[in-house]
Every structure is written in structure tokens, then in C-alpha cells.
Symmetry: C2
Subunit: 326 residues, 2 copies
Amino acid sequence: MVRLATLRDGSRDGRLAVVARAGDRYAEASTIAPTLQRALDDWDRVEPGLTELSHELESGSAASVALDPTLLLAPLPRAFEWVDASAYINHIVLVRRARGAAPPATLATDPLVYQGGSGVLLGPRDGIPLPDPAWGLDFEAELCVVLGDTPRGVQASEANRYVRLLMLANDVTFRGLVPDELAKGFGFFGSKPATAFSPFAITPDELGPAWRDGRVHLRLRSRLNGVLVGDPEAGPEMHFSFFDLIAHITKTRAFTAGTILGSGTVSNADRARGVSCLAERRMIETIESGAAQTRWLSSGDTVEIEMLDGSGWNLFGSIEQRVIAV
Amino acid sequence: MVRLATLRDGSRDGRLAVVARAGDRYAEASTIAPTLQRALDDWDRVEPGLTELSHELESGSAASVALDPTLLLAPLPRAFEWVDASAYINHIVLVRRARGAAPPATLATDPLVYQGGSGVLLGPRDGIPLPDPAWGLDFEAELCVVLGDTPRGVQASEANRYVRLLMLANDVTFRGLVPDELAKGFGFFGSKPATAFSPFAITPDELGPAWRDGRVHLRLRSRLNGVLVGDPEAGPEMHFSFFDLIAHITKTRAFTAGTILGSGTVSNADRARGVSCLAERRMIETIESGAAQTRWLSSGDTVEIEMLDGSGWNLFGSIEQRVIAV
């Protein structure tokens, strides 16, 4: 039961901290492991110390400091890989329809994943830079797992052992750049600028029974300028579970500790649950009324992403980002 | 004038060494910077010390050790990003023709790049694992640059300042997995297993006048089972220079120090220069005789990749890999 964060200290990789369940206080963990990457590099040795510090923090026996989320980096400010899937079929169907592309024939049998840029990752309160409003800035609310060392050829049935941590992500996308880029055949590149992550990376046991079958059975809530835009269930419609996705990505390759694997935009067929990105909402508007009314993000807009458990705990802390013209 | 290598020492990132011009001896550099990533993280402070050690090594005043290339890791055994372009138009045209795909309409104006996996990179003597011969294993001989911290929006005319080092790469590809993967629209993933790199990463000034206009004006030599298969000129037909590629990749994103940027398979229209991958040779055979004769790589095959300068120096050392059934 550990909740980890990375403190901004002027260094590239920040300093590791253990965070209280309430998300309001932390204890420095840098004597156990200086950074989250170093903790993941040596997880079996390091994890007991982090768990002990977490217990001490909850019991009040560890020295703690009030947590200011604006001083957090992404849990991994730079990672060795960021692999993002698209595991919610409702999202694939809507977004492909929006750009006039057919869903792949293997939609339900062969997971979609892309390799994202991982050298520059944004913290939970970092601004989203917008160089050109014509690029069509969108957010995408996702879940992700952080892997330990993961060999080639993992079966879904044994994938759980490679999951170290979970986080939320805002997979920022320039929708306007996607069609021309994908038409070239080599996948996303410039259309996916730096991804942002939640304040906390948590061990799966923090989720209790909500973590099962490689899915998180809770709602993921997104707000735009303070207004709820979606709170879909992340569990049942995740067609490929994280375990399925681990089996898929390890078919030909191994992965180093600290690899981040995303679920893709969380999406439900029930329209009452709203959306986790604006592209879906625009497509629904087009279907229902012939034209999209929702505009893409522009300077000053704010995006909030968070996930509460049944008791109201804000499990990962909140991603709260403002769009900044640059 | 520095030539760097990473010594295998049981750690994930190895230990930094400065290598003599002859490639036969090295001096440990770990008191200057423990790893190549750490050197790149703090290049302006670290580089003078590495240069001084290099001079001492050449003059015989530094303690040195005989270099065994089998004990080297990739210069960066794991990197924060591996971005691979396809800058030689002859290669794009041949390979797309081989899989029945049209070259993109923007072939000559908009560079092709894909985001590769960077968490597991192979050393110059590591075996190439082949889990399934039906996957169609191929090599691709390339040049690449290692970037320092590179902001968004770099112009080609100012890109040179972000180039720290050059290396050779063997961008291993499972050709048989490419068509189905690209048909899904998200680019390469499983069809590109771990890439291998040359023994040495060298500063651009090691190339002398052969490094100009963001291109390396030397021949890149590939051998299969000891037989020369290609020695194309890497300079003139690199349609997009490394400077053009840096401008392209920074259109929407910034990159952290240690990002590796590849040229794509080096390829000349002159068939006398041979090939830097088997897919091209198979396509040429198909054009000339109606069918491909060359088989894909199989267990026991060896691939060698190297680049000599005008005086016969083996600038990057040799990539020498054997295919290993796993």
C-alpha cells in the first residue's frame, strides 16, 4: 500500500516521496531510493522500505510535510518508454469515424498500441503548451500502469506480476495534425506532444477490489473549465485489459523497469457517461445534429482529471492543467 | 575530439569510457561522469574533462586498458527516446514497393519518422534474438545522432548546436510483421524489436570535413556472413539531413538530452553500391528477375556494419551480431 510522488527539486528526475492516503502530506523517501526510476530499477529491495515509510506516515510516526501539488513533477519526469494503447472500442469507433477512417478489421482481436515520446513528461499542474490553435488541441483521460522489468513473451495470465504502479494520464493530442501524420503510415509523432501524469503513482493494492482482471473498476472523471464532461466506468468496456496489453506488447520485445503502458482514452457506449476527450464529443454532436459545436482547447482553458474510490478518496490526486499559448 | 563507449559492469547503464582513436584501448571516465546519460545530462560541464582524457589517452599519459568489444554495451544501453527517420528516398520507394504500398504523396517534402522503443537497446556484439523465422528478420544499417536538450521549434539552420554525438545503428526489423501492423494505422511497434548500436559514440569533429550540412559524407559498409552486401555513400542521397530532421521532430515537441535520432536505412540509387537491408535486395531481385532469391536472416547468420574514414580508421567500431534462435 504505497502512494509515490516526485518532488520538483531542480534536478531532471526530481526526488522520491511517499504520500499519505489523504494526499495532503508526504515524507521524503530519498534515503530509500533517490528517484522513482531508481526505486523501480531495484523494486524488490526498495519496496519494503517504501511500504514501511507509508505505514509510519499513516500512523503519524514519520516526519511529514504538507504537500503542495504545484511542486510535483510527473512521477516519472522522463521515462524509458511510454506505450499507449487504445483499449476502449467505443473510443476507437467514434474517433476513426470523426476523421473518416474505418476501424481496423482486427478491432476486437488485435490491440492498437503506439509508441509515444517519453523523454519529456509533464507534471500534474504543468501548463499545456499550445503553439498554434489551428492544431486542434484535445485532452485524453486515461489510466496507465508502470511496469517492472518485463521479458518477451509474457502470457496475460501471468502479466499481473509485472505491474508495479498505476497512474492517470492526460495524453495531449493535436487532432488537426493526426490525419496527415497517420496518412504517412508511420503512426503518431508530432501530433502527440508531451503527456501529463497524475500527482501520485500507486501500488495496485491501493485500489482494493477495484483492481481486478487487469482493469480498474472505478469511474474516471474529467472536467473542462470546472464543468464535468465525463465520468465513464473504466472497467467493463476496457476491451483489452492491461494484462492482455502486456501480452500483446511483449510478443516480440522486452521492456525495462519504468516503462509506462496506457489504456487509451476511457470511453463508454452509454452517452450519459459523457466523454474523456473532445474528439468524441464533437463526433457525437455531428451524429446528433449534423455539426460539431464543441471547439478544441484554447489558451486559458483548464482540464481536470481524477478518480475517486467508493469512499471518496482521490486515489491519484488530480491532474489540473491550464492551456497556455506559447 | 572524443570517442565514448559504455563498459558492461553488471549495472543497467554501464560505466563510461573514453576510447583511443585506434579503437583498441580505453580509459575509464567514470570519475568525470559515471554513465553516458549522466555526461549528456551535464554536457557543457563534462565535455572538457572527456576531451582532456582523450588527449591524454592519445599521448599515452593516461592509464589505459585493452578494449574487448564483447564487453561493451550500447553507448546508451537504455535511452529516453529513439526516434528513427527514413531520410533516404531510394529506400522508401523500394521498401514500399516491396509491400505493395505507395510512397506517401509528401515523400520529398515531409520527413517520415517513427518513435521506436528505447528502453532495451542492444550492444555491438549482442545476439539478435529470433523467436520465429516466419517473422522475416532483416537488418537495417543506419547513422544516428545523439541530441542534447533540444527545445521545440528548432530551425534547421541552428540544429547543429544540439548534436552531441554520432553512432551507427542496426535497426532490426521483422518484415513479416510490418504490413499487418502498419495497416492498423498506429505505426511500427512489435515489428521493431531492440535496435543495436555501434561500440563507439563519437563527437562530430571526429569526422572532420566528412560531417557537413548535417550529413556524413562517407560510405556505410554492411556484410552478411562475411560477404559485402552494400557500401552506399551516406551523404548525398540523404534527402533530409539530420538538421532537417531535427527541425521536423521539434515542430511540436522538445527532447531531453540523450535522445537518439536515426537516419533510416542508408540507400543509394546506384545498384553497384548494394544495400543496407535485405528488403531492398529482395525488391531489386523481384524487379530484375520476377522473384526474390535472398532469404531473410536465420539462426547463425552474422551481420557486420561499420564506417571507415578516408584514412581507414574504423570510426565507430564494428557492429557484429549473430542471429540467435530463441
